[in-house]
Symmetry: C3
């Protein structure tokens, strides 16, 4: 048997392998025979609430004939977990990941983990502390159900959605626009959106207030990937200019890296920026017949106005549906229950 694999973020996999996942997802959505994981058990550990991720991965398991075992630590039904090595465990966590990951590896054929950012120390959050600890200690594949720095299942579904609507996205403009919120949100989704656009060779423009710049290392790596595939990644605070020529407008809120862990310092900034960054229908009209994306959940009229979400440009339900198909693709690839594709070069079928 091949070594266990992990999927904590796009950087873990080769671009061709990521595109193969999207291609497999599209085949599954198109009706490819299913039920290839009969008898398998997939353990899903949720340290945080979830609707789409939980429902889509459970439904994906059911469609493949596998059984999902859900451990809802966020709801209090399961112990909290310690991930730091060597500490005296006299706090709230009753169990260490060293045990949990190894034990759950004996019960399940793969382990999915949801662990949001702590939002105190980006230096720690960017390492995916809980997920990395699971990956280090588990003896079966570990995959992210949204981590502290990336949300690869979202990124894959976003890539699928873009390809469905824009068959050749290379060199096309994707604008990721910051959106208001009354509290700082993690950067897992924006990072994964940028990486998904880069994977597809798009020209990704992150439009945000200067204070909301994303991690420069994440952007530089994504830019290098994008350039190798015919695109680019850059940031700007001029949203109106960014929207010119946009084929995709993706809205998402996140917190200021420079005030990470210090919400009081960020509050005055928000009072100033929030009202200016609500996404409105008129914003989309500046683009080149763009479609609108958001990972959901979305706070209507706080971040994005109803007219955008309910209008004909919205792709948010399609995005969410694709979570079902990409989750199946990931499960099939991680569990080596891969579907025979008779000698096709997977990546070749996407972007020649």
């Amino acid at each position: 048997m091949s070594a266990p694999r992990t999927l904590l973020g796009f950087p873990d996999w080769e671009p061709a392998a990521l595109l193969d996942l999207v291609d497999l997802a599209r085949d599954l959505k198109g009706g490819l025979a299913r039920g290839h994981l009969g008898g398998r058990v997939v353990v899903l550990y949720f340290a945080n609430p979830s609707l789409r991720t939980r429902a889509s991965v459970e439904a994906a398991c059911a469609r493949l004939g596998a059984t999902a075992v859900v451990l809802d630590a966020g709801a209090g039904g399961v112990w909290g977990l310690e991930h730091r090595d060597g500490v005296v465990m006299d706090g709230t966590a009753a169990e260490h990941v060293k045990e949990a990951a190894r034990v759950l590896s004996r019960y399940g054929d793969a382990i999915g983990v949801r662990a949001f950012a702590g939002l105190k120390d980006w230096g720690e959050d960017r390492t995916e502390p809980l997920l990395s600890a699971f990956a280090r200690h588990a003896t079966v594949p570990v995959f992210s159900l949204e981590g502290s720095a990336r949300h690869p299942l979202q990124g894959l579904a976003d890539a699928q959605t873009i390809l469905e609507r824009l068959p050749d996205p290379r060199g096309q403009r994707l604008v990721l626009t910051w959106a208001p919120h009354f509290k700082p949100l993690p950067m897992a989704v924006p990072n994964s959106v940028v990486e998904a656009g880069a994977l597809l060779g798009m020209n990704v423009v992150v439009a945000r207030p200067d204070a909301m710049a994303l991690d420069p290392e994440v952007l530089a790596a994504a830019d290098a990937l994008a350039r190798a595939r015919g695109g680019s990644v850059r940031e700007t605070s001029d949203r109106q200019a960014a929207l010119e020529g946009a084929r995709v407008v993706y809205a998402k809120s996140w917190g200021a890296l420079r005030h990470y862990g210090d919400w009081e310092a960020e509050k005055p900034l928000r009072a100033q920026e929030n009202p200016r960054w609500v996404v409105r229908a008129a914003d989309l009209e500046r683009g080149d017949d763009p479609f609108f994306m958001h990972c959901l959940p979305v706070r209507r009229n706080l971040k994005v106005e109803d007219a955008v979400l309910d209008g004909p440009r919205s792709a948010v339900i399609q995005q969410a549906e694709n979570r079902l198909w990409t989750a199946q693709a990931v499960l099939l690839r991680l569990l080596d229950g891969g579907v025979s594709r008779q000698g096709r070069e997977p990546e070749g079928t996407l972007i020649a």
Copy 2:
């Protein structure tokens, strides 16, 4: 494929279709072959706690070969949902039903929703605000796991139980007696009990303190239905007279409509009425060899004394068991996986 159907309350369906559900439930209980929903996924969204409904619907799915995906919002593992249109979502609900219902429709073949009454505004609660919003936006069948005004799965199981014990219930007396509690409870179950009795053409008498009158519109509609089927619906505050000739005594507590949302105003009433309305074994002796029903959970000796629940007249476990069979019938009908019944006229087999 036929249009998605909903079951939020008995008024949504024709009487013949409701009786067909009960008939199918009885066939299933009698051993009719099962497993007709293999590979289907049923999403169950619980905004409130549940034991019977959750366990019976999950077991019903398993018996039919379907997989239940449970989202436990009440326990904190899933976002709360906004159902009002056009609001700025700056409160506790992180997601709108517009998104949730459409997204879950992509993952599941049907959606069950449990959403208790808010107990502040009956004008709103009587519209089933969350369930109606789900039904409006979902693209798959939506059914109630107990709403704010009705509990149709309970009503169906109650109808099945009555028919099992009283093969021709037309014109027989069903007394729904108000029972004490230390807080105001919703009216979903009493409304559904009245409607179930009306559906069976029974003479339904609601015995309650004057302050606990049920919604007159619900009663009037139920009375019209009952009259068309050989029965009637009326209210009284004279429990002793109501019990004369009763064939079924159904106990349930609910709050005062006139003080809806104002518990302080209701409290003095309760101090007066609670002690007089406990259901005791002697009360049953006034009936015509009646059997005793309650939807459960029941607070023993607060609402109903042990001697009733543990005595030979109690049908409460039979009622609860029938939740399993009626849930299967509802799932089969909603998912169009209907069981062929070879030309039988369903309603004809129940009440000629």
Copy 3:
């Protein structure tokens, strides 16, 4: 069909039947065909958090083709249950076990219940109040997912682990050593460990501070069982002497019986004893090439130092894995879906 059976603790079953469970678990682990409970529904009621028990029993159900229905009362998604007879239910419990057990018996083919000790009255906790009430009222098999006085699924997995590492454990020394904690823990696991050692005919030595003596009745019964099988059970406060010649060292924390329900009285004791009883690698060197056991979760470096848990003597992951196999054995035996073993005398294959 035979009468429903229960498994609340080892004393409920004959030793030969317990050893048969372990033997069946070993066969299943060795690859014996599975899937014998297709279509069955197992209800799991959790009054308390769980990781291993929940995941292992759900995975066991999946491997046998059964469906687990999980009711997570600890997380707030299900009503709390009253188990006392005759009380007026005006407290927090909205439902009585009398109803819950009978109702769930209609939905499922077996009921597992997790109900930790109340830690107020050992006289009550030793009777397994909630589990006993379930067993009394259910009409299907009831089994413990950890009770207030015993944890038989743990005891079975421990017996399997010992037999895997020590094929003839009779007369060999198993040291159960008390370990520190910052609060009093229940005695379910230590009692079951002692009973597992006795079942295997081992010389069980419970090493603990004098104040932490276990229930003398439990020890006396275990000693009688052990003696009939070539072993013994005794207590001591001299851990160093106890460890001489140990083949198995099992660590676990529990509270002082003499201060049960009075943590303030126990605290000064803890300040004195905790530092002396941490399990360290050097402790294991006193034994006869022993292996180390713990039921998990374990608070690292508070109860047991990293070097023990991460060292070559640790059997804790093997123990946890065996929860999966013994759970399957219990489900098969309780549900009468037993696996044919062609005339072998089960107990004969373990300890002749």
